[in-house]
Symmetry: C2
Subunit: 380 residues, 2 copies
């Protein structure tokens, strides 16, 4: 049984820092990776906010970068408060420890419910929205047994497998990850379930702004969070090219375990899961398969990995050379390359390269890819 | 596609040799391994037959060993002839080449049908007698596609999966391996199917005597032949502790590929197949999985491994020392050991050790185990 009394460590953001963090992550062209680079370069979110216009302009932005205002951030914090939710920063004790480890972990998570669920070891249980009866039954069994074994169960609040997994772990603790804002759950029929989750031992989490209605392209990002929160992901039934396979691929990328439940090759709902088995997923025919494989992982110390502000004087933060910027832009193209390759190729100091890439990023001229690769955004 | 024009090589037994081989394998305490040792020691089956009483007596047999008479052997050859069948020796060109490779391959196989099917590369397709509709459908698909790809399909003539596999490969060639004598097929309802097989492009084979009614303990031995004839075995549906799992385990022992079709963990007919997947069987969701994995194997030269008679003078065949026999008997116990260990432990010449073990075997005092291990049969 995993250690339920998670070692709660970390920093605590001041309210002023929290507002600055929220403003920064809600500003244009700032994703989690850029957020981290900005804190590293500028020393704090507050410094970063004041430097954004200059950095973005130096990177060649066509127009002034949109920066979230203090009022906007306060409005969102108020909305969260009214909704009974909190924003938790990546360095804070209530942030899910496994999620901290992933590349591009969200700097702030909106959370509602029993926050102690966030820091226990978790297993993801995902699958088809149109699950078969036996698929739903199997998902419920895994969720119930993993819950009893001390794991929270993380899923996506979707119909079918997700619903069965959440329901079966209501008492032991379940985490619903939303693709839209915390106040915009989907699908509507699962609103009562979400209430049961957050009023009980469970938790709803989202990295999206309050009021954000989920669009199709937000779901892969939601799946990424499910994989990041979980030590392992159980895929119960999944068609080919389904969202659950994205969750499984991301879990693999993050070094988490992937479990797949075998099913008839003649049932399209099993094509995806059988495909995962061919790729080496753990054959899962019962809860013991999951619990035994996860046991060693749940002992690992996952409390490293954070974003820490450190005092820095503005005068220490020097702009790069304009010639260097031109060299880097001409060295980049539409093909993703490693930052180390850029440094080797251009023979420029690493600090200059990172800074110029940050500027280009804020100017909307850089694409970031898995594994830290970057490419130049091509003009239309 | 495998090379359909098998390289037919090997010796041809004379009718006199064939009768001696049949008498020897039908005599008491003579199984395939003992048969091979006897030919090696005595030079020919005929020599072995004349030495059996002495060897068995020296081994300490309680009563005279029963030796099949010339009349018995001729009666069986006549029965085979009337039935339209032939006996094929392990060194002869029509003997299934992959079967020749296994430890304890039968020295003689009774065969009826199109003998050219015996020497083509084969895939075993086995599974539940009470197959589901989709299981039977899947077995038929695999058998049909493998047949078209140039493989014969080997199975056990049982209900369910076996029946579906045979039916789907009637035109391309299928091998039915029987647990009893060739004239004692089981189950009775599959007699018309067996006729279709042997009158068409297929083959029925058995290592058991004509007239032998199959008992429960003959089926594992039948499964061993299925695994031995096949380059790989596809298990379509199998409950726990079912015969198909024996076939799969033997296929693994013989270094053949094992394919398992995934199925719902909630269906008991899939517990065995899912278990095989956990042990590393190839996840099989379509015929391509089988055909692609077998392709490199079907190119191997499987035409080695045989039993060859070579002239030997009786005067060259010396009995072992009685003291040596006592040493070996006292060194042996109920725990299976390697023959090499006996040689090392007793410091006797290897030839004496082998000969004394052969005598004990013929006297019914030795048990042979997988991997060439032996143990002493304990008195009741």
């Amino acid at each position: 049984m995993p250690d339920g009394s998670a070692r709660r460590t970390g920093i605590a953001l001041t309210e002023r820092q929290r507002i600055a963090w929220l403003r920064l992550i809600r500003s244009d062209n700032v994703g989690p990776a850029t957020f981290r680079d900005l804190i590293n370069h500028c020393g704090s979110a507050e410094n970063a906010l004041s430097m954004l216009p200059e950095l973005s302009a130096r990177g060649g932005a066509a127009r002034a970068i949109r920066i979230a205002s203090v009022q906007e951030a306060e409005r969102e914090l108020d909305a969260a408060h009214r909704y009974g939710a909190r924003f938790v920063g990546i360095g804070e004790p209530d942030y899910p420890p496994a999620l901290r480890q992933i590349e591009g972990a969200p700097p702030l998570l909106a959370m509602k419910g029993d926050l102690s669920a966030a820091t226990r070891p978790s297993v993801g249980v995902v699958g088809s929205r149109n699950a078969s009866i036996s698929g739903a039954k199997f998902a419920a069994m895994i969720a119930r047994d993993c819950g009893r074994a001390g794991y929270t169960v993380t899923s996506g609040l979707a119909r079918g497998v997700d619903t069965a997994a959440h329901r079966a772990s209501l008492e032991t603790g379940t985490i619903a990850v939303l693709a839209g804002g915390l106040d915009q759950p989907y699908p509507p029929e699962n609103l009562p379930l979400l209430d049961e989750i957050t009023e009980g031992a469970g938790l709803a989490v989202s990295e999206m702004p309050f009021g954000w209605e989920p669009r199709a392209r937000d779901f892969p990002r939601r799946n990424r969070l499910i994989a990041g929160i979980s030590l392992g992901v159980v895929v119960v039934e999944a068609a080919e090219r389904s969202g659950s396979l994205i969750t499984a691929r991301m879990a693999t990328d993050f070094g988490r375990l992937v479990f797949a439940v075998p099913g008839s090759p003649l049932d399209p709902r099993c094509h995806g899961t059988n495909g995962l088995l061919k790729q080496g997923a753990i054959v899962t025919t019962g809860s013991a398969d999951v619990i035994e494989a996860l046991a060693p992982l749940s002992q690992l110390d996952l409390f490293s990995g954070s974003v820490v502000e450190e005092p820095k004087k503005f005068s220490d933060i020097l702009p790069p050379n304009d010639d260097d910027r031109a060299i880097i832009v001409s060295a980049l193209g539409p093909t993703p390359v490693e930052v180390d390759d850029i440094i080797r190729h251009t023979e420029l100091p690493a600090s200059s390269v990172y800074l110029i890439l940050l500027e280009l990023d804020l100017a909307g001229r850089l694409h970031r890819h898995v594994g830290g690769l970057v490419s130049l955004a091509m003009e239309d």
